[in-house]
Symmetry: C2
Subunit: 325 residues, 2 copies
């Protein structure tokens, strides 16, 4: 089978590609070709038997999506897009990257005709906006408080309509905060949820821009890749017409994250967090949802970690080779 | 003040324009200029003191929205768009008219800069999609089953984001079925809700394409114009960040509509309805919501009729000069 990954240079895109390379197959079908696209050069996965095409272009540029779709990928993982704080700071770039890119992709598929690829889209729980009930169920409305959340919510609607019309076989996954993100901090307003774990574990100081009482829902990068791969194998008749799903995760406060860090790595490591409130981050995060029911996703077999301790352990295993500094 | 009405040749646009002409003012501010735009020539309102500009162009054509916004309207009533069945039959036309038109308008306002008009958008309860709870509250999600509903839901999201960013002072009104629509049948799948009342009252036969047990929520054209005018006077601080509202209406079955017709106009008139099931209409209407709470809209002073009898009486008063054939 031929798999297209957009946003292949991004964190989720790279981890997904590595997993596909490692498995050599997707739900028992051998991966014969892998097309990786992003505005930045996607790293070629190591040890893959499939043909790999790396296309460094912007999906929103006219013609780019058509060229990608001309290769008739069986499965498309659409993870491309810019992150929340960047979309808030650069209005035009956010709509171009997060909305126009998706629309170009969907239009290219529709115009190609005669084929109906599986399209797995990474939406975000930032598509929700407060005030929130104690637990957000699967029928709560999307009233985002950021341009990023707005763009994700619009993409969900487009994906559902193009799916209903039979142009594509879509599924949207509202990811919780992905934690612990490896690598350098990015412009996501949610970045601190990861850096307060990652940086101390690597021997560095981390800044905490919000209050410790902030509660949020997290899943590991490993769980996120698991969601994407699981979604690719879900038959449309199990999914029904409501194709956009809130993914499960671990709900905990920042204080509970820090306590888990102390349990696993010791108080010396947990003491490497410095409080430095940031009004922009506080404003964005304040508008984000807290706890999700995610009943439909769980019933459909999507699985996240059970505790924040597990999330930290996965980071140490997957990123640090088991070593804490 | 300068008022811009898009979709000014449409039913709601024309009725709104007539009301503005009659009042000569909007919330105590004299109407000095009225710009009427549509893809069809908008009829100039009679007896209006204000300057009237009629612009027959497509809002989605590059430059058209910019030209309209160059006149710096204080209030914009954006009622333009194609109806549900047409958007379902012509995918491209639906997205162009209902989505690209709105985006062009919002972008023109953003790029004009230095002014922040009031923008009242006519959304639709077709933005909802089943399965539904008994009563749809103000926090129920939008999962439309039509391209039309999808386009309306996307416009709501865009309007909320452009409002949050301070480019415009927006409010979206999810209209129930507008009943009794005057004039000839249009391509709206909801058309029969009106024609089964309008045609018999005018001495003609009407076709009923769905079962009599279908329950729907209705408001008169007079109520719809009232919603638009009321919305134009609502201060943003009363509205808060959730600027898209489900409007109130009268919930009743088709059987109850027919019973009301019999009460008001006699059984001979009510007997002019012929049952002729239409699979496309049945499919579209089946996906539509039934009963709404509309608690927020009611609390904000939006008012619809109390009974379907009232809706029929308003039609007879406003359209038939009080005469039933």
């Amino acid at each position: 089978m031929h798999i297209l990954v957009t946003g292949a240079a991004g964190m989720i895109g790279r981890k997904l590609t590595e997993q596909l390379a490692k498995d050599g197959a997707l739900h028992d079908r051998a991966v014969e070709k892998l097309t990786l696209t992003d505005v930045f050069p996607a790293p070629p996965p190591l040890g893959i038997a499939a043909a790999v095409d790396i296309i460094t272009q912007d999906l929103a540029t006219p013609g780019v999506a058509d060229n990608l779709i001309a290769g008739r990928p069986d499965v498309i993982f659409h993870t491309a897009g810019i992150v929340s704080a960047e979309a808030e700071l650069d209005f035009d770039k956010g709509y171009r990257s997060n909305l126009d890119g998706m629309r170009a992709l969907l239009e290219a598929i529709r115009h190609a005709g005669g084929f109906r690829p599986k399209l797995i889209f990474t939406s975000s729980c930032a598509a929700f906006g407060g005030p929130f009930p104690y637990l957000i169920d699967d029928e709560f409305h999307l009233t985002p408080h950021t341009s990023y959340g707005t763009q994700k919510a619009i993409c969900e609607l487009l994906l559902a309509d193009y799916t209903r019309r039979g142009f594509v076989d879509g599924i949207g996954l509202r990811l919780p905060a992905i934690c612990v993100r490896p690598g350098k901090p990015n412009k996501a307003a949610s970045g601190f949820f990861s850096s307060i774990i990652r940086e101390p574990l690597a021997g560095h100081e981390a800044l905490l821009p919000v209050d410790e009482s902030i509660l949020h829902t997290h899943a590991s990068p490993r769980a996120a890749v698991g969601f994407l791969i699981h979604a690719a194998g879900l038959p449309p008749d199990r999914l029904g017409p409501r194709i956009n799903l809130t993914m499960p995760g671990v709900s905990c406060t920042v204080a509970e994250q820090i306590a888990a860090l102390g349990r696993i790595a010791g108080d010396k490591v947990a003491a490497r967090i410095r409080r430095e409130p940031d009004p922009l981050v506080i404003r964005i995060v304040d508008g984000w949802p807290h706890r999700f029911d995610a009943a439909r996703a769980r019933a459909l077999g999507f699985e996240a970690e059970r505790s924040f301790d597990d999330i930290i352990r996965i980071h140490i295993e997957d990123e640090l080779g088991g070593v804490i500094r």
